[in-house]
Amino acid sequence: MGHFVPHTDAEIAEMLAFVGLSSLDELFEAVPAALRLAGGLDLAPGLSEPDVAVEMERLADANVAVGRDLVCFAGGGAYDHEIPSVVRRVAYRSEYVTAYTPYQPEVSQGVLQTLFEYQTLIARLTGLPIANASLYDGATACVEAVNLAVAATGNQRVLVSRGVNPQWREVVRTYAVGTGHEIEEIALEDGLTAWSSVSGSAGAVLVQYPNYLGCLEDLAEARRVADATGALLLVAFDPVAAGLVRSPGSYGADVVVGEGQPFGTPLGFGGPYLGLFACKQEHVRRLPGRLVGETVDTEGRRAYVTTLRTREQDIRREKASSNVCTNQTLIAVCCTIQLAWLGTAGLREMALRCARATRYTREAVLAIDGVGPLASAPVLREFAISLPNGMSGETVVERMADEGFLAGIPLGAEYGGGLLIAATERRTRTEIDAYAAALEKVVR
């Protein structure tokens, strides 16, 4: 039990004496007797470090893991990208891991400068001038974007493309109950948002690029529609795409959000991931979360500090731009190091390799009898297929697991079923050929 409390019995006795008590129980006299847990917690006694390791390994071994057991073709917001050794070795240095929010900038320049670099990188990738120091994940970043847009426009009508990740849309809907926003969805046509169906005024238009089915949306059209409705244009952006395509900022997006997991974060059963958030200068006072700025110290040395703090909950309380306090700094550190490792050329190479693997996989898969494309629009790292004979995506995934593949993500009814397949820069021709062969067998 309690290996991590250093106090010896003798010390506890001395400390109690100093404060005029004679037992640890007396420390809790403010707690009404009726509320005191008589028998202590109903939990197993503490385990030694090796025993904990045994138990954690047992649980880990009860999973079927990507890499060890399965070749991963699943994406849908969580991707099997390469993570180089430097990310693990440097981002997990204990100064990064065991620091708190940089409240004392004089001894927190490490985290602050890293976040400043992170903000710069996210601004560059999104094509916008301001990026915050991280949000929880792609889904909640969408919520924050919607809240910003509604606050900025005063219009609670929020138009969300069905091309946005369905789980993210669900999160947006969940939170909208509190804020009272009206969420309306825009249907897809052949994998792309049916912009022509939009009418009326709105506070926000949210579109994903590339979208959930992997397709490259027409952001210029999205911008026009947003303008026509008086809405801000919110783009949920795949940051890997920044290696190949024009930035959402270049199309005039007001806010760009995204999921930062592809840069340096393992699949981890879905978290902790990284919510990316960038916006135009004019929205900076509505920015959710923390912002690091450059300044100087008393001797004129360059220094960094969290700034525009008056937006934040600890100062502005019920009027804050958001309730976010703890964010995902460490994941932002991983992202920064991973991007630095990639560099300008590497980011492009990574995106290019994803696109090649995806093209190759798509061609191989579509060559299978009965498999068809769910959409014809161009894709980058992910694409959707229909399955023969009404076979469900779930069945294919289960069967493919026996063949050593995580085949993809089953698509829901709103997409007409089928399977969402992703291929990252980690996928080799051998793996893809084997995947296609297995799929052919499985759908037969």
């Binding site: 403010a30 197993a44 891991v97 991280s134 040395r301 703890t326």
Partner: protein, 524 residues
Amino acid sequence: MTDPTTGVKTVSGGRASSAPLMGRDEEPTLFELSVTGRTAASFRTSGLPEWSAEELVPADHLQTEPTPVAEISERDLVAHFTRLTHRQYSVDLGAYPLGSCTMKYNPKLCDEAASLAGLANIHPAAPPSLTQGWLELLVELEDILCSITGMKAATLQPPAGAAGELTGLLLMRAWHAAQGRQRTKVIIPDSAHGTNPASVTLGGYQTVTVPSDERGLVDVAALRERLDDDVAGIMLTNPNTLGLFEEDIVEIAGAVHEVGGLLYYDGANLNAILGITRPGDMGFDIVHMNLHKTFAVPHGGGGPGAGPVAVSPRLAEYLPGPMPIRHDDGTYGWMTPARSIGRVHGWHGNGLALARAYSYILANGGDGLKRVAEAAVLNATWLRHRLRGTYDIPYDRPNMHEFVAAATNLKKAKGIKALDVAKRLLEEGFHAPTVYFPLIVDEALMIEPTETESPQTLVALAEALERIAADTGESAKAAPRTSPVGRVDEARAARQLIPTFDARPVTSTGDEAADTMESPAARF
């Protein structure tokens, strides 16, 4: 450092003058270290056709210029970030008595648990047949958290405390709606953390503040005045942010329940009561936990954390879904509660953070967790007694895991403000306490030693605080003098916003900034 002969600043990835071991120079940014054509990246041999960007991406989507990232060697990259870590305080370097934040030592075994390939390399969309280990872990963790808080069911989705609060408020909303009631207000004490009112707003409620009485506890009479049919509920943390146990909690719960309101427990201070008492027994309906405070998910410089929410039986059917469940046959799967408010996270919550917390709980066990609370309270109590007389203790009564001191008299006597105490403490080898919070205490110094600090460290911390109080005002104002940078100009940061490297004015720091983008290689 600027070359005196050329006047040009050399930006070098291999110079360590910014590492406090060597000097106190600035550390160049990634972007200044960047040299066109360099890269650290390398890629797997894929054997795939090498289609060009133009073949793969339609022309109207294709970028014309590559997105500028940074161009840096692996060597410079590693050195840059390693030096940055030397410019960063952390629990692993020393005590971090930040009140409300629970900066305890986080066992290394939890780091290793969370990096097991069988946990880290699992896709969140993989079906239950492939993720039985994860599902078992989540179900077990939910059970444990319910057991610790005295609640019925829990969701692990919320990624942090504030997200847990909002989840809780949405549960509150859903419950009232199901009762056919339209409530508009949520009561919070004036000592509450800022996330509470911020979440209340996002939950669609108005914040009604209830004052603290002279004990530092909720003023029950004032509370009763505010209770009416519009009240959806109350948010409390207990012990509260003064570190004091809300002794009238049973009475409070009764009063709130009487008007049909719910009680929300902000679990940021759960560390104090582990194994001692449970929010469920106090009458709370909804509890969020900050696993990153109580259960050793290291704070990571600001996150990630995990903010599970546990609820009483009547709220269980509203929890976000899907929830991990144990089937009757002993296997595990997912289930969405009948009246679920819906997802609050893109996937299942901050999984690897949950795994860390789970391993921490396994290591401590029921007995160890109680010892955590005891030692945390003992440490804070000892320190309050020791500092009494040196600092003001506005509410000098039995505290729990933290207490609030104040620099009111020091400020009066010598002009030493809470902020000065904080900065001087950095020189003494300690992180500063939380200052100016809670808002109801002037010149507040909110001190939470945590249970992992030894009595010797408490003595050293007390001695340091005593030295500071004995100091001159000038000395305190000049602090910190030993850190890589001195006091930072926060006003300037806000006034002249530089949120990215690219936003730097050409001569932002008044000196050589303009040169630094130029590759020094050009000067061979």
